[in-house]
Symmetry: C2
Subunit: 147 residues, 2 copies
């Protein structure tokens, strides 16, 4: 199976962009990796491993669950994607690796990006001795408004 067979109906420029991003990390662009990348990196979104597996198989791809997890972990370790823990039930893989925050609608489960400029901290705690800030995970939980 070659690359072009493997990527389904993805837009050519997206395919090229994924190849470039993977190459920048020294990740070999195999058929399965390209399918996962062109699906997840197509737009800013949050997908679970199971969703990715189901979508790829629905598109006729031959992919194993192990490869989906291995690939997502590989991508995350190279900063191509980000892993999110929202409620502990499963991991969400976020194609948006720019700094940003999240809304989490508890009633629907929806996860919505919040751009950095929409949040301003006028005060942050001093970090414990010997440590520095590695990143800030902010989840604004939402509920349905009663009225």
């Amino acid at each position: 199976m070659n690359f072009m067979d493997s990527i389904g109906s993805s837009a050519p420029e997206m395919v090229v962009r994924c190849q470039r991003r993977m190459a920048n990390c020294g990740i070999r662009p195999t058929a399965q990796r390209m399918r996962i990348a062109t699906l997840l990196l197509a737009e800013p979104q949050h997908l679970s491993a199971e969703q990715i597996l189901a979508t790829l198989r629905g598109n006729g791809a031959r992919v194993s669950k192990a490869t989906v997890y291995n690939t997502l972990n590989l991508f995350a370790s190279h900063g191509l994607i980000r892993q999110l823990s929202v409620d502990g039930s499963r991991t969400w893989f976020d194609s948006n690796v720019d700094a940003h925050y999240h809304f989490h609608d508890v009633s629907t489960g929806a996860l919505i990006d919040v751009p950095v400029p929409e949040v301003e901290f006028s005060r942050l705690p001093p970090t414990p001795p010997g440590t520095e800030v590695d990143g800030i995970d902010l989840i604004i939980r939402l509920r349905k408004k009663p009225s």
Copy 2:
């Protein structure tokens, strides 16, 4: 087995306080629940279900894993404790139910409380239509300072 047999060596005033807090929620103070409560609610801390099970059994208690999970979920649903998702590997049960945030030291795994007054938001995003803020989960990830 009666209450006094069940609570191990907990300070009497802690036992009474746990009984009161459970009574306020209409939760029956059984032996296992009292042991779990007097352990977890003794101070502000973050414990996993497995840690609680191991500690209680180390203290000579007869408790099952199912009861630990059922009890922790019961406590959480009544607002006696709070569940935290930090890295998706497991759930942390937080005895501090006052509003607060967290440091998470990625290199050690340590979880440290950050009091509300130490963080100030000068800007927060408008909530999507029909929703309102239910709560804010803030985790400041820490790494070892290199120098």
